[in-house]
């Protein structure tokens, strides 16, 4: 216990120093939300990981990795998915490994030739839907869920499908007005991905959007803030939240319930790629292989709260639909398509 505290203290110190260093540097193109140095043997190689996942979630994995490779110093950087994409696309980062939950952006990076190929037994063992070429690899699969505060429902049945949710909102507008949270697809890459995938999957999304629009929904840029508001009682329900964040930050048996909708529940793949510009791609490969190894995947599920890649779990429940790593993802990144979708979405959600 003591030791961890000490280590955490040291890390915080490092963080502070780095932050100071970042301030001293001329304004970089990439704005980081966090940057943490996990020091290895002094003078050893440095591996830079650029990620959209909070440091706290990834820390157990980094520690386990460093137990195996104590020589490696790992620099863990956190930024928003759009920033991560732009940094890799514009060559504004020296990251060795890029981990992001924005599958479409990662897909575009790989498609447009920004990812280096990587072969290993661990990557070959991935199911085909969890891998694109030898460049993009899923490290975790996370359901996109609905979270409901049962107190707000006041005895009403918990909705299990989008149709039931739409009906619930329409029939009891007073209960939910101003108390619905969802992603803002304009600001959040993940929110845009979820909304477009929902729209692609079924028309019930648009009906739901229209009903939500009439109830003055609150729009968020991240799952974390949405969940925080829900816990604080400011929200009655949150639609399209990353289940992993929800599960790790909610008490197991509270009034707040995580629901995987039965008509369909999208499974987001958190993917990793090694940029072509990576200074030490072999270190990146080592870390990636560790994340995909049995140990890495177990740690991912148990310590980081990110569900491991598990084909059997998906096969068992046909309402779970992994968002496929295929070129279709590029379609909604088309500027015209994006403008058109967002216009439609705004029209549905922001009613007069």
């Amino acid at each position: 216990m003591r030791r961890t505290d000490l280590a955490a203290g040291l890390r915080r110190l490092c963080l502070a120093l780095l932050a100071a260093a970042a301030l001293a540097r001329p304004a970089a193109a990439l704005t980081l939300e966090e940057e943490t140095l996990f020091p290895g043997t002094p003078g050893g190689p440095v591996l830079t990981v650029l990620s959209t996942t909070d440091t706290a979630i990834f820390q157990p994995l980094v520690v386990a990795f460093q137990a195996r490779r104590p020589d490696i110093t790992l620099r863990y950087q956190v930024a928003g998915s759009q920033e991560v994409f732009a940094a890799v696309h514009d060559g504004a980062t020296e990251a060795d490994l890029v981990i992001s939950s924005a599958m479409d952006l990662q897909m575009k990076l790989a498609n447009d030739g920004f990812a280096a190929p990587h072969h290993a037994a661990e990557t070959a063992a991935l199911p085909p839907w969890a891998r694109w070429r030898d460049q993009l690899f899923a490290v975790a699969q996370e359901p996109v869920v609905l979270i409901v505060d049962r107190r707000a429902l006041g005895g009403l049945a918990v909705p299990r499908t989008r149709a039931a949710l739409t009906a619930l909102l329409r029939d009891h507008p007073d209960k939910f007005r101003g108390r619905i949270g969802t992603y803002d697809p304009v600001r959040s890459g993940a929110g845009y991905l979820f909304a477009t995938q929902d729209a692609r999957q079924s028309d019930s999304f648009w009906r739901l959007a229209e009903v939500m629009g009439a109830l003055a929904p609150r729009l968020y840029a991240s799952s974390a803030t949405m969940i925080a508001d829900l816990r604080a009682g400011r929200l009655a329900l949150a639609y399209n939240v990353l289940g992993s964040y929800a599960a790790s930050s909610l008490p197991p048996a509270g009034d707040v319930q995580i629901i995987e909708l039965q008509d369909f529940t999208h499974i987001l793949l958190r993917t990793a790629l090694i940029p072509r510009t990576a200074p030490t791609p072999d270190l990146a490969a080592a870390f990636l292989d560790f994340l995909l190894s049995n140990t890495g995947q177990q740690l991912m599920a148990q310590k980081a709260g990110l569900p491991a890649i598990d084909e059997a779990a998906l096969a068992a429940d046909q309402s779970l639909r992994p968002i496929r790593l295929d070129p279709g993802l590029l379609v909604y990144l088309d500027p015209l398509k994006r403008r058109r979708f967002l216009a439609e979405w705004s029209a549905a959600l922001r009613q007069p």
Binding site: N111, W132, D326, P327, G328, V331, Y332, D334, L336, K337
Partner: protein, 459 residues
């Protein structure tokens, strides 16, 4: 005509068949690979074309200009075959609307409403592209819109490589099968030749019967020619034998007359010198007569050894007969002739005339070269499936001459002194032994004299 190539028909045939099979296998490999490649290319092209048209169908004209709602499925279907990179570009009246602005446009205009396919290097890869043109009415005028969709071809390459492996396996399998068939074919083609050669090789040296072996039509001319050759050969032989026989006959008659005249003249003259020369004449006539007789006998034996009249023959009885018929001659020469043969019959299948001629010559020699008070023994023994006729005398012996020396035509020993003879007797015996698949030996006998043995196989 070219000189016939030496070497083995079997090997040549096998090599040619294998060579043909190898060429066919390679052709099979190449054509399967080529066909599969173009089939895969066509399939991929049609998917790419369909995706391009699906995108083009979503073009809309608005008051502000051209708008497009790229369908998700269009790109998603490109990902169905394999994980290839996808690029697109939409150009309105020469200006980029959306997509990858540096994606290469086609050199020619796409034909009508159909997609035009072309390949270009793009982003460190060879990209297959499809372009379609669509006129769109927007903002009051008709805009020419070109939709280009491109895809790398690594999945196709993987499929083609896999097909190539299959084609190679197919080619190899085909070759293995063809090789097996080639071996079997060669064997069956060469078998009649082998059989014919074997049948001819097993023949005895005197066997001049025509070849009656059934042979394939291609070999019929060969056997016909061979049979013609054999017929000419045996005809020539026969003519020779006949000629000798006739010649001997024609000589013997005048010789008999000549001898009679010489004897009369000898009786009528008292002049010692004339009598001596007349005796010389008579002796020479006897020699010539004997020679003519032996020549006739030899010709008969040679002829019959080709066409043997094989029949069951009792050797014991034959020996007794011969002993009886030579008794007077033995008496005259003061020689005791003893015949000791088993009482039971000793049967074998043979040409009686041949065996009898041989035995007569041996008995004749034994008496002739014994001298007065000699003793000739004729014996017959049976052992290990063979009958051995033994004719022994206590005469002058062979004086060291070997059998090979004495069996040559007209070859006589140095020990003959004044004994009349032609030197054909043992030649005849040897001939008979060979024709009857037997063996003949003549050797010096312990305690003086010689011993002749003729061994013949029993049935």
């Amino acid at each position: 005509m070219r000189a016939a190539a030496p070497g083995s028909i079997r090997r040549r045939l096998l090599l040619q068949l294998l060579g043909g099979a190898a060429v066919l296998s390679v052709l099979l490999y190449l054509s399967v690979r080529g066909v599969s490649r173009s089939a895969v290319e066509q399939t991929q092209d049609s998917i790419l074309g369909a995706a391009t048209i699906a995108v083009a169908e979503q073009l809309r004209g608005t008051d502000e200009g051209v708008d497009i709602d790229i369908p998700y499925t269009a790109f998603s279907m490109l990902g169905a075959v394999g994980q290839d990179r996808v690029f697109y570009r939409i150009i309105v009246d020469g200006a980029d609307l959306t997509g990858y602005a540096d994606l290469p446009a086609p050199d020619d205009a796409p034909p009508g409403l159909n997609p035009l396919f072309y390949s270009r290097p793009y982003q460190q890869a060879l990209v297959r592209l499809a372009a379609v043109n669509r006129p769109v009415i927007a903002g009051g005028h008709t805009a020419q819109v070109q939709v280009i969709v491109g895809q790398t071809r690594s999945a196709q390459e993987a499929i083609v490589a896999d097909m190539a492996w299959r084609a190679a396996a197919l080619g190899l399998g085909f070759f293995a099968l063809a090789a097996l068939l080639a071996v079997l074919t060669t064997r069956s083609v060469v078998r009649p030749l082998d059989r014919l050669a074997g049948a001819l090789g097993r023949r005895g040296p005197q066997d001049l019967r025509p070849v009656t072996q059934p042979v394939p039509v291609e070999l019929a001319p060969l056997t016909a020619a061979l049979n013609g050759f054999i017929a000419r050969l045996s005809g020539a032989l026969k003519r020779t034998e006949t000629f000798i026989a006739e010649a001997a006959h024609h000589i013997r008659t005048p010789l008999a007359t000549l001898r009679a005249r010489a004897e009369i003249a000898l009786r009528q003259t008292q002049d010692e010198a004339t009598r001596a020369s007349l005796r010389e004449v008579i002796r020479a006539v006897d020699d010539s007569a004997r020679a003519a007789g032996q020549l006739l006998e030899h010709a008969a034996v040679v002829y019959r050894s080709d066409q043997r009249a094989e029949a069951p023959l009792d050797l014991a009885a034959l020996l007794r007969d011969i002993g009886q018929s030579y008794a007077p001659a033995a008496d005259m020469a003061d020689v005791a002739l003893a015949v000791s043969v088993p009482d039971s019959a000793v049967m074998l299948t043979a040409d009686r005339l041949l065996v009898e001629t041989a035995l007569r010559n041996l008995v004749d020699n034994a008496i002739k070269y014994s001298g007065p008070d000699g003793r000739v023994e004729m014996g017959l023994g049976v052992a290990q499936g063979r009958a051995t006729i033994r004719i022994a005398d206590r005469g002058r012996g062979l004086s060291g001459a070997s059998l090979a020396d004495l069996t040559g035509r007209f070859r006589r020993g140095r020990n003959v002194e004044d004994v009349v003879g032609s030197g054909l007797g043992l030649t005849i015996v040897q001939e008979v032994a060979r024709a009857q698949r037997g063996r003949f030996t003549l050797r010096e006998r312990d305690g003086g004299g010689s011993c002749a043995e003729l061994t013949l196989p029993l049935d």
